[in-house]
């Protein structure tokens, strides 16, 4: 869960700076500048484009920087070519009107985005304002936000507050996918909200925007149909799963810090994620050679998805299943190329305590256990009595070990 922290930038909705300070600035400028200023940007630049000049007019460097608008930055932005007064209404005359507000609501042009934003969590106190993500004078264009560099810039902007959600370099999305690609950019909602694009019921569509093939296969499989059933009131989760919420994409893949099949430990981690719901199968898997080798870091032996499929998982009784009687041999042959029909009757999830389903394994396990317990008991007692006899003899001084052979330690 991503925790929101109070944000230093854009903590409060834009407000007018204190009128007194504005007045002082206006007065200073009045003394120094020719009287007429128009709404044209080049005129604004004469004061606001020069840090050196601004620095002489205001008490602090910080304040001067806040008033600085570099023409090249504004020019390259989405708002390049727009007049300053389009946003900064009331500043068209000089000296500036002391009652003028600094900015105009972005909504005056971007109404749809504003409406969406007001419906999301970022409109709450301590949320995020337009400029927190889009910049102030360096307003990024939609096109530039969708490039890889733009995606990284967006990630940087979002993680200033959502620092826990920062994608590690190993995440396949880290380098090229913007936060907004998965999370709605304007009407951002927490994942537990059913309207959220990353809520379990919407992940198929959200991730499917790029991963069409996988999403389509998932949609009709056991997991996808179980997720779809969530929309039906009172729907029951099918048997075989033990958790309340069926898995969409992130239950297996994770969200921030996703693994790729080439990541070391991917196989073992995926098994643990399946185990989250399919505990008894994970246990019998762990007792098999496949499971043991996976636990010990093998990247090549079969794990859950190698046999059951990753997207498009069906019960073994379904002919579409990779482990159905019809398809099982073909699935085994992916690795065991020479496997026969009899080979495919191996029971990878055999449970030695289940006599009904796995009678041979049950008897093998129990007979072996009896053999081990019997042998160790017999020889354990034999050994213990031997030691006890020698100990007693030594205590009583009646040892029958010849003196010459006694250990001379």
């Amino acid at each position: 869960m991503i925790r929101l922290i109070p944000c230093s930038r854009g903590g409060q909705p834009p407000k007018s700076p204190p009128a007194a300070r504005l007045g002082a600035l206006a007065a200073t400028l009045l003394l120094l500048l020719p009287a007429v200023a128009t709404a044209q940007s080049p005129r604004c630049e004469r004061c606001h484009g020069e840090l050196e000049f601004l620095r002489q007019q205001v008490p602090t460097l910080q304040r001067a920087r806040a008033l600085l608008v570099l023409p090249e930055v504004l020019g390259a932005s989405a708002h390049g070519g727009m007049a300053c007064t389009r946003c900064h209404r009331g500043f068209g005359s000089f000296p500036h009107d002391t009652t003028a507000t600094t900015t105009t609501e972005c909504a005056s042009c971007h109404e749809a985005q504003d409406t969406a934003w007001r419906g999301g969590v970022h409109a709450l106190d301590q949320g995020a304002r337009c400029q927190d993500c889009h910049g102030v004078h360096d307003v990024r264009t939609k096109a530039s936000m969708e490039t890889a560099a733009g995606a990284r810039a967006t990630q940087k902007a979002c993680t200033r507050c959502h620092f826990e959600a920062a994608l590690p370099a190993s995440d396949p999305h880290a380098d090229s996918v913007s936060c907004a690609a998965c999370h709605a950019p304007h009407r951002t909602l927490p994942p537990q909200d059913e309207r959220s694009r990353v809520n379990v019921v919407n992940q198929g569509n959200t991730c499917g925007a790029c991963h069409q093939k996988e999403a389509k296969a998932w949609e009709s499989d056991v997991h996808g149909t179980a997720v779809a059933a969530l929309a039906v009131p009172g729907a029951r989760i099918p048997s075989g799963a033990s958790r309340a919420e069926p898995p969409a994409c992130t239950a297996c893949h994770g969200a921030h810090g996703m693994l790729t099949p080439s990541t070391p430990g991917f196989q073992a981690q995926m098994v643990q994620r399946c185990a989250h719901c399919h505990e008894p199968y994970a246990e019998s898997f762990a007792d098999s050679y496949h499971g043991q080798a996976t636990t010990l870091g093998s990247q090549t032996v079969a794990t859950c998805h190698d046999c059951h499929g990753a997207h498009g998982i069906y019960p073994a009784s379904d002919p579409r299943s990779t482990v159905s009687p019809e398809n099982r041999l073909h699935t085994c042959q992916k690795c065991h190329t020479q496997a026969t029909a009899s080979f495919a009757l191996f029971q990878p999830h055999a449970n030695p305590s289940d006599r009904t389903h796995y009678p041979f394994v049950y008897w093998a396990y129990h007979l072996m256990a009896a053999l081990l317990i019997g042998t160790f008991t017999l020889f354990g007692v034999h050994t213990f009595l031997w030691l006890a006899r020698l100990g007693l003899d030594a205590l009583r001084g009646t040892s029958d070990v010849p003196k010459t052979r006694e250990n001379e330690r």
């Binding site: 080798a293 636990t295 010990l296 870091g297 496997a339 080979f343 495919a344 093998a364 020698l390 330690r409």
Partner: protein, 297 residues
């Protein structure tokens, strides 16, 4: 060579303690076979144990040390090949011995035979009586019932573990003749029988051969091939007549059992002791790891 200076017997080795002279007990062939058993057995146990206890804390590091699951698999199969080689060689040895012997029945039955017989039951009974102070120790012959058990345990072990191991090594081939559940059973049997073998060798065999107070800390007779007369009198009193019969002979170059032997050289004694202690230390460490895994998981 230091031929003129009498070698000091290595007191650490139970087979060198007490009065001499030395007597041959094992031929070179026996010792080489036993060495092959040791090497292959350790290789198999060390590479197999991490799989059996894959969730134990030591399993991952041990597997990395072995070079990963794949490398461990190669080493395990190497151990299997050594096992099959010494096992076939031994079957050949036994058959050849039977064919060449003027009296093959002496190999299959009687005091010199390794085959369990009524005398062993009597010995076991006497041993039990001795435990409870009801009589003297049994007078073991050439092979005590414990030694016979050790010998046949290898046959049983190689047949069961080796057989199931072959099934698991070539499952695709064997699936032409065998139903799928056989591989499930083979997995259980291979793993449990191997645990039995490792547990037995590293506790019972180690105690009986090396660690019991009469022999502690080591009996290197299987490495040097020879033991003192005192040792033979205590461990195998039943064959002393045979030893007496050969007592006047010169030390045999053929290492014929019961004939006089020169004392082992200092270098041979120390090498044997070093190998023995390494095997003991590794085996007991493996037992510690097994117990840790069994108790904690």
């Amino acid at each position: 060579m230091t031929d003129h200076i009498p070698e000091q017997p290595l007191n650490l080795d139970a087979a060198q303690r007490g009065d001499g002279p030395f007597v041959w007990r094992f031929e070179r062939y026996h010792r080489i076979t036993h060495a092959a058993v040791i090497v292959s057995f350790f290789l198999l146990v060390i590479t197999g144990l991490p799989l059996r206890f894959s969730h134990a804390f030591w399993a991952g590091p041990l597997m990395s040390l072995l070079g990963g699951v794949k490398m461990a698999g190669i080493l395990h199969r190497t151990g299997a090949v050594i096992t099959f080689l010494y096992f076939s060689a031994h079957l050949f040895y036994v058959v050849r011995k039977l064919v060449r012997s003027p009296d093959p029945m002496k190999i299959l039955w009687g005091p010199d035979s390794l085959v369990p017989q009524p005398r062993d039951i009597v010995d076991f009974w006497h041993q039990t009586r001795w435990y409870f102070g009801r009589g003297p120790r049994p007078r073991f012959g050439r092979w005590s019932y414990m030694e016979k058990f050790d010998y046949f345990a290898v046959f049983w072990g190689v047949a069961i573990i080796g057989g199931s191991g072959l099934l698991l090594w070539f499952p695709e081939f064997f699936s032409h003749f065998l139903p799928g559940w056989v591989f499930n059973v083979a997995t259980v049997v291979h793993s449990d029988e191997a645990l039995l073998a490792a547990g037995f060798i590293f506790t019972i065999h180690f105690f009986h051969v090396h660690l019991r107070p009469e022999k502690f800390p080591l009996d290197a007779v299987m490495f040097t091939g020879r033991a003192t007369r005192s040792y033979m009198e205590e461990e195998h009193p039943g064959i002393m007549e045979e030893v007496e019969r050969h007592a006047s002979e010169a030390p045999s170059p053929h290492q014929t059992p019961d004939t006089p032997a020169p004392p082992p050289t200092r270098a041979a004694s120390l090498t044997a002791a070093a190998l023995g202690f390494i095997a003991l230390a590794v085996g007991l460490s493996l037992i510690g790891m097994i117990l840790w895994a069994v108790i904690l998981y």
